[in-house]
Amino acid sequence: MPQWAVLLTPFLYLGLLFAIAYWADLRAQTARSLVNNPYVYTLSIAVYCTAWTFYGSVGRASQDGLSFLTIYLGPTLAAVLWWLVLRKIIRICKIHRITSIADFIASRYGKSMLLGGLATVIAVVGITPYIALQLKAVSASFDVLLNFPQPAPAGAGALVEDKALWVATLLALFAILFGTRHVDATERLEGMVVAVAFESIVKLVAFLTIGVFVTWVLFNGPGDLVQRVAAEPAMREMLNPSGLPGGYTSWVALTVLSMAAILFLPRQFQVTVVENVNEDHLRTAAWLFPLYLFLINLFVLPIAMAGLIYFGDAPVDPDNYVLALPLAEGRELLALFVYIGGFSAATGMVIVASIALAIMVSNDLVMPSLLRLRHLPWIERLGLRRLIIYLRRLILVLILMLGYAYFRLTDDDYALVSIGLISFVAVAQFAPPILFGMYWKGASRAGALVGLSGGFLIWLYTLFIPSVIDPSHLPGMSSDGLFEGLWLLNPHALFGLEGLDAISHALFWSMFFNIGGLVLVSLYTRQSDMERIQAALFVDVFQRSERDARFWQGTATVGDLEDLLARFTGDAEAARAIRGYSRSRGARLTADQEAPAALINLAERILTGHIGSASARVMMSSIVKGEALTFEGVMEILDATSRAIEYSRQLEQKSRELELATAELRAANQRLTELDRLKDEFVSMVSHELRTPLTSIRAFGEILLGNQDVPMEQQQEFLQVIVKESERLTRLINQVLDLSRIESGWGDWQLKDLDLRDVVEDAVSATSQLFSDRKVKLVQTLPHTPCPLKGDSDRLIQLVINLLSNAVKFTEPERGPVKLEVSLRPSWVELRVTDRGPGIPEHEHLRVFEKFHQISDQQAGKPKGSGLGLAICKRIVDLHWGRIRVENAPTEGATFIVELPEAGGAHCDLAGDKA
C-alpha cells in the first residue's frame, strides 16, 4: 500500500473528528445539545473498547482461547449494579462539583490534598502503560499496513520512533484543542463526548466488517473454523475455557479486575460520571453498553482461529491478525478501513484518558503546590485562569510523552493485553477507598492513605517495575536470580505465594494491603470534623440535600468572594455567579456586605469545579475569617435542613390529599348536576307527552264551541278524538305515577313466593280484550312444572301486561300470532314475548328501555305508546334481580326476553336493598 495513503488517512480521519467535535460544541452553545441523549452517552462509554479490544483481544484469543472475554464479562456484570453504585457516584459528583477520581477520594476524606495527590500519581503512573499500549498498537498497525508481508523491523528503527512520536504529538494537539478550552471542568466537554461516541461507531462497524469478511468470505462460516481448529491438536486448546494460565482463578480475578476498571479508569469516570447529563441515561446504558460489548466481541474468536489456520507458523504477530488477514488477501481498502477502526479505538482512549489525567494533575497535584507560592509575581501577571489552561496543556503533552517513554522502554516484550492489565490493576486500587468511602462513614483519611499507598507500592513492585526492567532480561534480577536469598520478596511470588499468574498475584496482594490497611487503620484512628462531615455527606447523599447547608461559621464580604472567584473564573463569570445567587434569593448584595453562609458555600463549590476540592478549601480559608464549623454544627444544620424538607414533603402530601378531595367533590357535584339534568329532561318529556293530547282536546273543544254549524258527522268525529285523547291522557298519568312509585323502590311491594305461570295467566286474561279487539291471536307455551319466583305479584303481572300490550299493538292481525313462552333454565326462569311487528333496529336495542324513547323511524300513524311501558318493565325486572333484553326474531318482529332468578337463590335474602 502506498505510504502516502497510510499517512494521510489518519490525518483526514482526525480532521473529520475535529469537525464533528467542533460542530457538537457549536450546537451545545446554541442549546441544541447532542449529549442529552442516552445513546450518545452509551456510545461514549464504549471508549472502554480501545486498541486492546480491537487488536489485542484477537491476539489473546489465539493464545488463551476464550479468556479474552473476562475483560467484557466484568463490565457486563457491573452494568447490573450501575443503578445502585454509579448513580450514587454521579449524584455525589454533581452536588460537590467533583471532576475526577482523585478529587472524589480527596473530597471524601476531608478534602485531603495529600490523598488527592497520591491518587493522581497512581492514576498517571497506572495509566501510562495503557497509553503506551495505544501508541504501540497504532504504530504496529502502521507497520503492518506498510510492510506486510515482511515482519515489522525489529527494535526501534528510526521510522518506528518517528511514528509513535508523531501519533503522540497529533493526539496531544487534538486533546488540547478539545479538552482544555474551558477551565471549569464541570462545564462538559461536549465536543469530545460526541467525537468519542462517533469513534465508537467507527470501530464497531470496522470490526464487524472484518469479522464478517474473515468468517464468511475467507472461510465457510463459524462451523468451518471450529472444525478446522478442532482438527489441529496444537490449536484445540483454545476451545477450552480453562485455557488461561492459572485456570479459573484467573477468570475470577480478571472479571473482578474489569468490573473495577469500568468504574474507576479515569477515562471511564470522565465519560460516565463527569460528562453525565441525566442520571436516567444510565438505564439505557445498562443494557445497551453490554450489547455493544457483545457485538464487538462476536468475531474475536473466529478471527483468531482464522489467523491461526491461515498463517500457521508464519511470523505474524497474533495481535495483528485483524489487519494481516485482509492484507494477505490483497484487500487493501478493507485493510485501510480496519486500520481506521483500530486508530479510532486507540485515539478515543488516548484523548479522553489524557484529558482526564490532565485535569487531575492540574487540580490535585500542581494547583495545591502553586497556591502555596501564590505571591509569585509572574503568576499574578499571567492571571490564574490562563495559568490553569496553559498548565493543563503542558500536562497533557507530558502525559503523552510519558506514555511514549514507556512504549520505548518496554518495546516489544509484552503483548497488548498484558500491558493493559497492568493498568487495570493500578486502577483497581481506587476501588476500596471509593466504595468503602461511599458506604461506610467510618473509613478515615489515614486508612485511605495507608491502604492506597500499600496497594500502589505492591503494584509498582510486582507489575510496573518488572515490566519496565524485565527481570528475565537483567542478570541477577530474575525470579530466581537477585532475590534468590530473599525468596519471600520475589515479585512474582510475593511472600511465597505461588501458582498464580502475574496479574492475579498482583491483584491479590495489592487488594490485601489496600483493603486491609484501609479497614484496620480506619478502625483505630479518629476522624477530623472535616472528614466526618464529608463522610456523612457522601454516604447519605440520597437522604440529604445539602445544597443550602453551611460549613462556615466565619465571615467574608461579598466583594472578597467575588474577587477570589474572579481570579480563577474570570470577572464576568464571577459577577454572574454572585448575581445569579442574589437573584435566586431576591436580595441585592453590595460588595462590602457580609456574605451569607450559603453564598460562601456556593463559591467553594464553584472553585472546586475549577481547581479541585482541596485547593478550593485552602483558597476559601484564606478569605473567610473565623473557623469552619464542627461536625456537630454541620450535622445540626443538615438535620434542620432535612427537617424542613420533611415538613415541606408533608405539606405537599397534604396539598395532594386536598387536591384529591377537591377532585372527588367535583366529581360528586358533576354526578348531581347530571342527575339534575336527567330529572329536568324527564319533566320536560312528561310535559311534552301531557301537552300533546291536551292540545287536541282543547283545540277540538274550542272548535266545537265556536262553530255551531259543523255538520253532525264531523262533530261526532271531533268528540271521539276528544274522548280518545282524554283516555290517552289518563293512561299516561297512570303510568307516570306507576313509574315514580317503582322508581322509589320497594315501598309497598309484597314479596311472595310465586309461580310465573300464575302471573302469566292473570296477565293474559287482563289483556284478552285487547287481543280480541285487534283480532290478534296469542300462542302460549308454558312448562308443566311450577316456575317458582320470589317477587311482587302485581308488579310482575304489570310487567307481562306491558309486554303483551306492546306486542299486540305492533302486530298486524294477518301477520300471525303473538307468542308467549315460559321456560325453566338451570337457575332462572325465562319469559319470551315475540311480536310480528316491524322489529327493532340493532342500535335501538338498548335505548328502547329508556323513558319516553320512541323509535325514530317509526312510521307515523302507527300506534304510539306513552314511551314509558318498557321503562317500567326494565325497572320491575331490575328490582327482581333479573335482566331484560330485546332480540329480533328470525321471522320478522321483535322478541323481548326476561330472565328472572329462581326462588330460593341467595338474592331472596336481599329483600329491599335493591331499592
Binding site: 301537552r691 292540545t695 282543547r698
Partner: protein, 122 residues
C-alpha cells in the same frame, strides 16, 4: 288567490284540528307527518306559511327550519313553530334558527288563527 299553508305534525289529531281551523279561515291547506315529508312538500308546493311541530320522527322541526332558511328561494316563507315542551330555551332556539313565531301547545285556536293572519299580512 288564497294563501297556502302547510301543516306539519306527527300527531294526526292535531293536524286534523289545525286543518279545520285554517280551512275555515280561508286558506288552502296541505299536511305532512314528519320532517322529510315537510321538506318535500315545501319544495313542491311553495306554501306561504308552515305550521311546524318540533318533536317529530326523522328530522325534527329545528332541522327542517334550518335547512329551509339556508335556501334563498324560501326567504319569504313564514314559519311558525309548534312546541310542546313549553320551555323558553326551545322557543329561543326556534326563533334563532329563523322561525317567525312560535306557538306553545296546547294552544288557543283563536291565537293560532290571529298569528297566521298577522304573519300573512291580512
Amino acid at each position: 288567490m288564497a294563501k297556502r299553508i302547510l301543516i306539519v305534525d306527527d300527531e294526526p289529531n292535531i293536524v286534523l284540528s289545525l286543518e279545520f281551523l285554517m280551512k275555515k279561515a280561508g286558506y288552502e291547506v296541505s299536511t305532512a307527518e314528519d320532517g322529510e315529508q315537510a321538506l318535500a312538500a315545501i319544495h313542491e308546493q311553495h306554501p306561504d306559511l308552515v305550521l311546524l311541530d318540533v318533536m317529530m320522527p326523522r328530522k325534527d322541526g329545528f332541522q327542517v327550519c334550518q335547512s329551509i332558511r339556508e335556501e334563498d328561494e324560501f326567504q319569504d316563507l313564514r314559519i311558525v313553530m309548534l312546541t310542546a315542551k313549553g320551555r323558553d330555551l326551545e322557543q329561543e332556539k326556534g326563533l334563532s334558527l329563523g322561525a317567525d313565531d312560535y306557538i306553545t301547545k296546547p294552544f288557543s285556536t283563536q291565537d293560532v288563527v290571529n298569528k297566521v293572519r298577522q304573519l300573512l299580512g291580512e
